[in-house]
């Protein structure tokens, strides 16, 4: 029997110890009418060899197209050592470190992670992870409402250049708690927040202003001015950032005169494969004064009975298993293994390695934009300072172009025409350090060929 070790004599001895005539008798408290007759829709079992063949066939159906798509999930090189260690059984098959003495490995790793993440974002404390970047923003909005006691409005101001899915997710998750989201437009032709729309809110009660840096179009926002404006107007600031970009760009803890209040984002660029969108992990860092309002697990360093250093879950009274209906969030198990990957990844690359990856990605995207915009009928939507994504505009419908590119085994970007119709036939493209110059040329010539038709 797959995965079940019992022999016939085991079963007999065990039933004798229980005093039951059969395994079936152990279910005698379940009303007979409810018992399953059959599971006809479940196929017969496959052996490991057969399932391997099936999965390989499915994988080959999808193949490995050349990819120029980012939009919140980025294809970076992951050192071989990262997943070799992550999939060790001691990490892979352990559970949440409730028994601290038997979980010091995971706990120490999480403490190291908290240290790295706090430093990368320029903040004082980090939790041990949330589900993903989008849900982390939802949690940050709820946290801001709790932490900012002077604001009574539960009103969150977001720029329209925030990843649109992040806004949808934040709305869905906070739906029962009476938050309101107010979307401010970007400046036409520039692609960054239209500052006078923010100015127009002066004097109103705003709980928090959300800033995404780089924004969804890949452009850098004037984060110092927005942060200072928000603080001057009594609002908190929630930063949504790509952690890789922070090796290069000013961390949110240093934005404006005081730095932001809460930082969130998706940790995927730190050692997590694209993997169809998950599992990734969300991160959250903040100032010490807000630590008790932070959701998710937090690890602290302490001492044992002999005074020796050790690590343990702390501030648990915020969490659902103690606070129940008054918890900061219902979150419990989330993305521990991905944090393990990120911690190893950050250790292997260090600051200079991450910076080098960030710069190379930025340069490859700049080259890509240059090559693509030389094609007739392709132009750049915004020419501001960028990280590693850009919006290009075509003379044909992006959906059709993307399908034609897919036939040539190229994933050419994200069609923005539904979410940003005012941009016309716009495409969000991305190149990372994993796209070579030859890859960029391949895309450019494929796009030229497709557009010529």
């Amino acid at each position: 029997m797959p995965f079940i070790p019992h022999t016939d004599s085991d079963i007999k001895e065990m039933l004798a110890a229980i005093g039951a005539p059969s395994i079936d008798a152990l279910f005698d408290e379940i009303p007979a009418a409810l018992r399953i007759k059959s599971l006809a829709a479940i196929p017969e079992a496959l052996t490991e060899m057969e399932v391997g063949r099936l999965m390989q066939a499915r994988a080959q159906t999808d193949g490995r197209p050349l990819m120029f798509l980012g939009a919140g999930a980025y294809d970076h090189h992951i050192p071989a050592a990262v997943w070799a260690i992550v999939t060790r059984g001691e990490f892979y098959s352990a559970y949440t470190p409730y028994q601290a003495e038997a979980s010091q490995g995971t706990l120490q790793l999480l403490y190291e992670y908290q240290t790295m993440m706090s430093s990368l974002t320029g903040m004082e404390v980090s939790n041990a992870s949330l589900y993903d970047g989008a849900s982390a923003l939802a949690e940050a909005c709820l946290m801001s409402v709790r932490a900012h006691r002077k604001s009574k409005s539960a009103r969150i101001v977001v720029p329209s250049t925030l990843n649109p899915t992040y806004l949808s997710v934040s709305r869905a998750i906070t739906e029962g708690q009476n938050l309101s989201f107010e979307v401010l437009p970007y400046q036409a032709g520039k692609g960054t927040l239209q500052f006078d729309k923010l100015e127009a809110l002066k004097g109103q009660d705003i709980t928090a202003v959300v800033i995404q840096q780089p924004n969804f179009f890949g452009l850098l926002e004037d984060v110092d001015a927005i942060t200072d404006w928000a603080h001057a107007n009594g609002a908190q600031v929630i930063a949504v950032v790509n952690p890789l970009s922070l090796a290069l760009f000013k961390p949110p803890g240093e934005w404006g005169a005081k730095g932001v209040d809460i930082v969130v984002g998706d940790g995927q660029p730190l050692g997590v494969p694209l993997s169809s969108g998950g599992p990734y992990f969300g991160f959250m860092t903040t100032r010490m004064e807000h630590v008790r309002q932070m959701p998710g697990r937090i690890i602290g360093r302490t001492v044992d009975l002999d005074g020796k250093q050790g690590f343990t879950l702390t501030l648990q009274a915020r969490e659902q298993h103690i606070r129940r209906s008054k918890a900061t969030s219902n979150i419990c198990t989330n993305q521990g293994l991905l944090v393990t990957a990120a911690t190893i990844h950050m250790s292997l690359l260090g600051s200079s390695g991450l910076e080098s990856v960030a710069i190379t990605s930025q340069q490859q995207t700049a080259k890509l934009v240059d090559k693509l915009t030389r094609i007739k009928g392709v132009k750049l939507a915004f020419d501001g300072y960028r990280f590693h994504e850009a919006v290009i505009q075509l003379e044909r419908k992006p959906g059709e172009v993307l399908e034609a590119l897919a036939k040539r085994n190229i994933v050419g970007g994200l069609d923005l025409s539904k979410q940003y119709p005012e941009l016309g036939n716009a495409l969000l493209v991305c190149a990372t350090e994993t796209r070579t110059d030859a890859d960029l040329d391949a895309y450019a010539s494929a796009l030229a060929a497709v557009l010529e038709r």
Partner: protein
């Protein structure tokens, strides 16, 4: 295992790096206002130093692969290696979540078939795979219940009924969804108090959240009656799938009358727990909740698969993740279900239950007190150490810690809260009789120690990297990040 491993930062030396890992010679021209001034304090170590450090840390963990892990309510069963290997095929790892459907048919086929299989084993009419953990599945479930009442203009239904033995996530979720929690008591035999339920249901009832078998480790025998009471009052029934392993292949939540369920794929369908995730909390719904499922869902038209989104499900409660949840976890669950097959599904519930009842019977004979001695165990059961606490001064926590010295992970302690000195024990179906016997021997031995040298048990563990930790100090003098000055 006793030697300490220093923090990674202690291995760090300025100028050292694992330089083979990234492109060399890149330099950027970043405008001053955007430029990072001081590099982040990440460690500077060689590849070998990093590999050795994290390998050594891994060795300071208990895990299923190394130890029996009878953590109640967590279903720590074997995670087949094949599930990991085939979910990590390069094509799956490299697939972008927003890639066009035309280059995603292989992946979408797996997801569609997983939805269909989960529908069959739970008896529900629709499945959405997007919730990223049990708690998010719970959120989706309660949000759907709210959306259902709202769509019927039944706006006063804001009360969620929760038994006092429920997981903490149940009341926390209800609050997150803007509902008010009404607790009902559990009776001495472990069943919920149906009379109390009758008192509390009414025109404000949105629904009830139940775990069945309950966290007390027993099957709710009057479930059909409970379903009728709640439905007659206009409420819906939510099934917390934390204990689905107990009944897999034996009875289905849909047949019991539940309207919505979440499944912890990392429990019942054996995806890894990963030291605290990633999980996956797929939700299943009855026909009345189909329009409200979280998106995206995979649909099939002819022989083509595609994502169903806002357009297809305009009444959906929306999106809970940036893409489609923990896809890699879902692939692992899919592979596991294909390897179990139809017959294997039935066996899961059977052998999980056999193992639990065997452990309970043997431990009872050895002098431990089951909390519900008149009941069958489900896939788990509770031992109460109240007697040991009163007579010998040895608590459930002491026994749990001493078990670590014997090479067994501790059961879940002090949950559910209503049983004093509670040890919630779940062996799972993948453990052999020898493993269970070894655990029983350890428990018997600890009981003897408690009688003759209680201090040994009360000061356990003695063989781990650290002894008991000062939790009070951890909470009062918060030390949450390493700082060079404090080193």
């Amino acid at each position: 295992m006793k030697t300490p491993e220093p923090l990674i930062f202690k291995h760090s030396r300025s100028g050292r790096s694992a330089a083979g890992q990234y492109p060399q010679g890149a330099s950027a021209n970043v405008p001053e206002k955007f430029r990072r001034r001081k590099p982040a304090a990440l460690p500077e170590v060689s590849e070998l130093q990093a590999v050795r450090h994290f390998t050594r840390l891994s060795q300071r963990n208990f895990s299923i692969d190394t130890h029996f892990y009878p953590l109640g309510s967590c279903t720590m069963k074997y995670n087949p290696r094949a599930c990991n290997q085939y979910a990590m095929l390069p094509e799956f790892l490299g697939r972008h979540p927003l890639a066009p459907n035309s280059v995603s048919q292989g992946f979408l086929a797996c997801m569609y078939e997983l939805q269909e299989m989960l529908k069959e084993v739970t008896g529900m009419k629709g499945v959405s795979l997007t919730p990223m953990a049990g708690a998010q599945g719970e959120f989706a479930g309660v949000a759907m219940i709210r959306a259902y009442h709202r769509a019927r203009n039944d706006l006063e239904r804001t009360e969620i009924i929760v038994p006092d033995a429920a997981h903490g996530t149940n009341p926390a979720t209800a609050t997150m969804c803007g509902c008010v929690v009404k607790e009902i008591p559990t009776k001495d035999d472990g069943d919920i108090d149906v009379e109390a339920l009758k008192q509390v249901v009414g025109p404000n009832t949105a629904g009830i959240m139940l775990t069945n078998p309950s966290t007390c480790g027993v099957f709710e025998r009057r479930i059909k009656e409970v379903a009728k009471i709640v439905h007659d009052a206009g409420g819906l029934l939510y099934y917390d799938g934390a204990n689905l392993n107990a009944i897999l292949g034996k009875v289905r939540p849909g047949d019991m009358g539940f309207d919505v369920i979440h499944m912890n794929l990392h429990k019942t369908f054996s995806t890894p727990h990963g030291g605290g995730g990633p999980g996956a909390g797929a939700v299943g719904v009855s026909s009345r909740l189909l329009p409200f499922m979280p998106i995206p869902v995979v649909g099939k038209e002819g022989d083509k698969y595609r994502w169903l989104t806002e357009k297809d499900l305009p009444q959906s409660i929306g999106r809970l993740s940036a893409f489609m949840g923990n896809a890699g976890v879902l692939l692992r669950a899919y592979i596991y279900m294909r390897m179990l097959g139809r017959e294997g599904m039935h066996r899961v519930g059977e052998y999980a239950t056999l193992n639990a009842n065997y452990l309970m019977a043997r431990l009872a004979k050895a002098g431990f007190d089951p909390a519900y001695p008149t009941r069958r165990a489900s896939h788990e059961f509770i031992i109460t150490a109240k007697k040991q606490k009163n007579d010998l001064g040895v608590s459930a926590m002491d026994i749990a810690k001493r078990l670590l010295d014997y090479g067994f992970h501790a059961p879940t302690t002090y949950f559910p809260l209503l049983v004093p000195e509670c040890l919630l024990i779940e062996p799972t179906e993948t453990e052999s009789k020898e493993a269970l016997d070894g655990f029983i021997d350890a428990m018997v031995s600890i009981l003897k120690e408690a009688e003759t040298q209680a201090d040994l048990v009360k000061s356990a563990p003695h063989t781990m990297t650290v002894r008991r930790l000062d939790d009070v100090r951890a909470a009062r003098q918060l030390d949450l990040t390493w700082k060079p000055a404090a080193a």
